[in-house]
């Protein structure tokens, strides 16, 4: 299967074309309840990540809470 490059939190990642976002999140060990996810600057519904297929040059941001004032 064809491989594509995407960016996750600013870092280039190679994944299979049309692979699911949910697989990527699982692979990265992301605790879904504690994060929010953006795909190309749009917030996505975390529960629907298995309906989203990754495409070339997709930009994904995964954020969580850290200490701050």
């Amino acid at each position: 299967m064809k491989k594509i490059k995407i960016k996750v939190n600013g870092k280039v990642k190679t994944v299979l074309n049309n692979s699911k976002l949910s697989d990527l999140l699982k692979n990265l060990n992301i605790p879904l309840k504690k994060v929010a996810i953006e795909l190309n600057q749009e917030i996505i519904d975390k529960k629907r990540s298995n309906n989203i297929k990754l495409k070339k040059d997709d930009k994904i941001e995964i954020v969580h809470f850290i200490g701050g004032g």
Partner: protein, 257 residues
């Protein structure tokens, strides 16, 4: 004494001390300092997950959001667009609607950009957020924020992290007098007595991060701030005496031998 609660966006809190969770040596130190402070609200920042270190400890593992109210902030945002993006993401993490907005205007003094702040407050309020707004100590801007839908006014005491204490007590008092909203002193406190002064000016609470996190003994300082806020509030509620220029003896002047 009747219960004297802090009410923000219809939520009631016993503690009037809000603490930041930044600048601690590690998360367990941060969690312990929060315990000592008695704070029920803590500010948190929204940042990228470290995807190369999967085992990095998470804030939520140390500070339970079911027990302590998380107040997501927009630290590091210098315009409305970034602040909105950050808080929309924060809400998405788990439904947080109570947020702290801060839009900074200058990287060295960290003063807020009030034009961007005002604009953002309006948008957030329309989107259903309950917004606590970091602002300068300008009564006119504070009024505008109130009119834009803010839920709490958070004027700075002094620049963030400066430890200078309250620079403009008169402005803070004017801001307190003119608004129905809670006024929380945010940023610039250096020691516990600064918090007492804030409370004695009539403020409804204080937000402290650096002064506790960077104290030589953070746990003791957290406790000191807790007590200082309580003392200041009690003092304010008790109604202080008038100031007079000359002395007034405490013992009766009649019957002196």
């Amino acid at each position: 004494m009747k219960k004297d609660k802090l009410i923000i966006a219809k939520k009631k809190f016993d503690s009037r001390l809000i603490v930041g969770t930044g600048k601690y040596k590690n998360m367990s130190e941060c969690a312990k300092a929060i315990k000592f402070s008695g704070a029920e609200i803590v500010t948190v920042a929204v940042r990228r997950v470290n995807i190369s270190n999967k085992n990095k400890p998470l804030l939520m593992d140390y500070i339970d959001p079911k027990k302590i109210t998380y107040l997501p902030n927009t630290a590091g945002c210098f315009n409305s667009k970034d602040a909105l993006r950050t808080l929309r993401l924060a809400r998405e993490i788990g439904g947080w609607k109570l947020v702290k907005l801060e839009v900074l205007g200058d990287k060295t003094n960290l003063f807020p950009d009030m034009i961007e702040t005002l604009k953002t407050t309006e948008v957030l309020a329309k989107e259903g957020f309950r917004v606590m707004v970091y602002c300068n100590d300008d009564p006119l801007m504070a009024k505008r924020l109130e009119n834009s839908g803010a839920d709490a006014i958070m004027p700075l005491a002094a620049p963030i992290g400066s430890g200078l204490g309250i620079l403009n007590k008169i402005n803070i008092q004017i801001i307190r007098k003119q608004t129905k909203l809670p006024v929380i002193i945010d940023a610039g406190l250096g020691q516990a007595s600064d918090a007492t002064i804030a409370m004695e000016l009539g403020c409804d609470g204080v937000l402290v991060n650096t002064a506790i996190a960077k104290a030589k003994k953070p746990f003791e300082m957290a406790l000191a701030f807790k007590n200082a806020v309580v003392a200041g509030r009690q003092s304010y509620n008790s109604g202080r005496i008038d100031k007079i220029l000359m002395g007034n003896p405490s013992s009766p002047t009649e019957g002196i031998i």
